[in-house]
């Protein structure tokens, strides 16, 4: 029974979000924040999710070079600097993913033909991202930046799924974007 508890809690939370979405649909005439979401999507795809930058922060080459210098203080300094950078990258990524999800929520409130299965899938992906974010943040703090590369790959892949869902939504709102949107892209480390 205790092993089912986390799933029950997550399912309950998702249901609350869904019911809230369906109830508030069409009641709020606020802007959907299209431009803000588009900027978030571009930031994620152009700057944060491509593997080059994260690989540069977490890659082992610089750590090996500094270790070879034989100065423990500089080694610690590098680890601290890279830890700060990894946390900065992670927080910035979460901010942009949150902006995208907020856009989805605003859009869903105004949409008359909501697809509950799709909304459920997106909400699940978003909660998965938040869980991966929390786990990665704690791992970086506790284990340091060098030992989290696989987790970064997973978190990045989940964030990209949110991006793909947003891309599809943008195509729905503006069909001329169809060519620019492709399927989910995975960025392995």
């Amino acid at each position: 029974m205790s092993s089912l508890l986390p799933f029950l809690i997550i399912s309950g939370l998702l249901l609350v979000v869904l019911v809230w979405l369906l109830k508030s649909r069409g009641e709020i005439g606020e802007s959907t924040g299209y431009e803000e979401a588009e900027e978030a999507l571009n930031t994620l795809r152009g700057e944060l999710l491509p593997s080059g930058l994260v690989e540069r922060i977490l890659g082992p080459a610089d750590f090996a070079f500094v270790a070879n210098e034989g100065d423990a203080q500089i080694e610690r300094q590098l680890e601290e600097e890279r830890k700060k950078l990894a946390i900065l990258w992670l927080r910035h990524t979460r901010e942009q993913v949150e902006r995208l999800f907020r856009f989805h929520l605003r859009f869903a409130r105004q949409e008359s033909e909501l697809n509950p299965a799709q909304e459920f899938k997106l909400a699940f992906t978003y909660f998965l991202f938040l869980a991966a974010y929390a786990a990665l943040l704690n791992s970086i703090r506790l284990r340091g930046p060098l030992r989290v590369r696989r987790m970064v790959g997973f978190t990045t892949a989940v964030a990209e799924r949110v991006c793909a869902a947003s891309g599809n939504l943008f195509v729905k709102l503006d069909p001329s974007r169809a060519g620019a949107e492709q399927g989910p892209r995975i960025f392995p480390l």
Binding site: I57, E69, I74, L85
Partner: protein, 156 residues
């Protein structure tokens, strides 16, 4: 003043900047500092009298800004080992006492003003962080060299 702005001019000016003007700087850090120094810190625009006269003010500004961005990106992607060598070479080329230069760089962090406008926020942090580490390594090597405890490969 010539205000025409064509793609051909931009391409020609870019070639000239990379292969003539910047070629006289032996290090990437030296090139970056030079490019950043052509930027007006009040307006963010780039100025170069020679280029402005030959092409146009707008072409000169566009080419300098693009080259600044490009060089910054390449420095962000440079492995720490190469950055340390580049920084050491640059610092040695400065006609001042090395210890004083190192201290000023550590205290004032002048490399922060070399970051181009609109640079990726994380990349800008990574660049400053890498230079801080590179500076610490250059200093550490100098101290070790004085006390004679560094092997030949690290002295290079």
């Amino acid at each position: 003043m010539n205000t025409r702005f064509t793609r051909m001019d931009v391409s020609k000016a870019s070639e000239e900047l990379k292969h003539h003007t910047l070629a006289s700087f032996p290090t990437d850090i030296g090139k970056l500092i030079y490019l950043a120094s052509t930027r007006d810190y009040n307006t963010g625009k780039y100025y170069h009298d020679g280029f402005a006269q030959r092409f146009s003010e707008e072409t000169a500004s566009t080419v300098l800004a693009a080259c600044h961005q490009e060089l910054f990106k390449s420095l962000v992607n440079k492995p720490l080992q190469e950055l340390v060598n580049d920084l050491r070479e640059y610092l040695e080329s400065v006609p001042s006492e090395m210890d004083q230069v190192l201290e000023m760089w550590r205290e004032l962090e002048p490399y922060r003003v070399t970051i181009p406008l609109g640079a990726n926020r994380i990349a800008a942090h990574l660049f400053a962080s890498n230079l801080k580490i590179a500076l610490a390594i250059v200093e550490c090597r100098r101290k070790a060299r004085r006390s004679g405890s560094l092997d030949a490969s690290q002295l290079r």
